[in-house]
Amino acid sequence: MNLENTILLMTRLVGITMLLQGFEIFSLTRRREFFAVWSDRNLKTEFAKSLPFADLLMACFLSQNAFRGVALFQILAAFSCLCFPSPLIIVLLFCTQLIICVRFRGTFNGGSDMMLFVVLTGLFFATFFKNPDIQKWGPIYVAIHLGYSYFKAGLAKIIRREWRTGAALPAFLERSLFPDMRRLGAWLRDQKTLSFILCWLVLIFELGAVTLPFQGSWTFSYFATALAFHLAVFFAFGLNRFFWAWLCAWPTIFYCSYLLN
């Protein structure tokens, strides 16, 4: 996949991802439950210590209408990214994403927010500069983070005894938001061999990311495995945002494979 196609595909995927997420956030802002919890009353003391805003700006920042406006703006910006991507649109998406994360005291969905910032940063770099020798560092930056995210996650797991023995997966499944996954986790707890195999499959997949630069034609196989992995994680834990955030980053791996091979 050459640089031009990589950037094109990334912008389309980012546009789709942030369009979907914008709709999710906007939908949340229409629920009383949301503003009952993440209210300006609950947040203002902490935010006053955390954001260098004057009182009036802080009041605007914390207002319900302003946050709905941010969600709507993200939807519009994401749609623009789909149709006519530009560095400015990428910056605007970066800003809406940051405002949303700040409103949730740091992140809304953890790792998926972090990966989106990585992708947006790389994409801005790739779209702002016109010299391909400089542009390419945007996707390379994202690819490094993507590969490292799998490897680091695997490394953090393999040092834990629960993962090496197969006890981890049932434990995590039993904490899923979905009752069917909790029942599956309870069942899997008694299937020690199966659980052991599944845990090691996850470890091998994640640690195997260190071979990505050398995989050549096997990159697509790893991608297919990653797709299945993220879909399984979504199905088990409801982490749809992770699926999309990592999908946005994947074109950069194919680009790096193209560069290296």
Binding site: L28, W38, N42, L51, L98
Partner: protein, 151 residues
């Protein structure tokens, strides 16, 4: 006498912007699972608040309900983390310090909302956070009796 405005702190700012500094540790530690339970006056038992999501056909595209539930579960985990930070400074928790925590305020608003949702018309409530392991449950924090918020 006018109260002093809180002063800006870089540490707090960086915490709010921490999504800009990625770390990639996912599902590594099998630590305790934290649950929130509540009790109203004259009740004998503690009631646990469930956090469950239902599946829908297009969840992979749009999953506001599940994501909101996960964000609510994160509030509990943040609260436990902040309680542990307070205990690191001083082993005996002052309830006033705890009630000043933002995570406490979010958690209590969540509890008040759920009480209203369940149509429990109590004016006071006590809650606790329970750490659930494989074979044990430990009370991490038990609140004072508090006036239920009007939501």
């Amino acid at each position: 006498m006018k109260a002093r405005a809180p002063t800006f702190q870089w540490k707090n700012f960086l915490n709010l912007a921490r999504a800009l500094f990625p770390y990639w540790n996912f599902f590594d530690r099998v630590a305790y699972d934290f649950e929130i339970e509540f009790k109203i006056p004259n009740a004998v038992k503690w009631e646990r608040i469930p956090f469950e999501a239902r599946r829908a056909a297009l969840d992979v595209f749009y999953s506001a309900d599940a994501n909101l539930k996960m964000a609510q579960v994160n509030i509990i985990e943040h609260f436990v983390g902040e309680i542990q930070d307070l205990q690191a400074d001083d082993a005996t928790l002052d309830s006033r310090d705890v009630q000043e925590l933002t995570s406490f305020k979010l958690l209590f608003s969540l509890l008040s909302f759920r009480l209203k949702e369940y149509e429990i018309g109590a004016s006071q409530v006590q809650f606790k956070i329970v750490a659930c392991g494989n074979d044990e449950e430990i009370d991490v924090y038990i609140s004072d009796w508090l006036e239920v918020e009007t939501i």
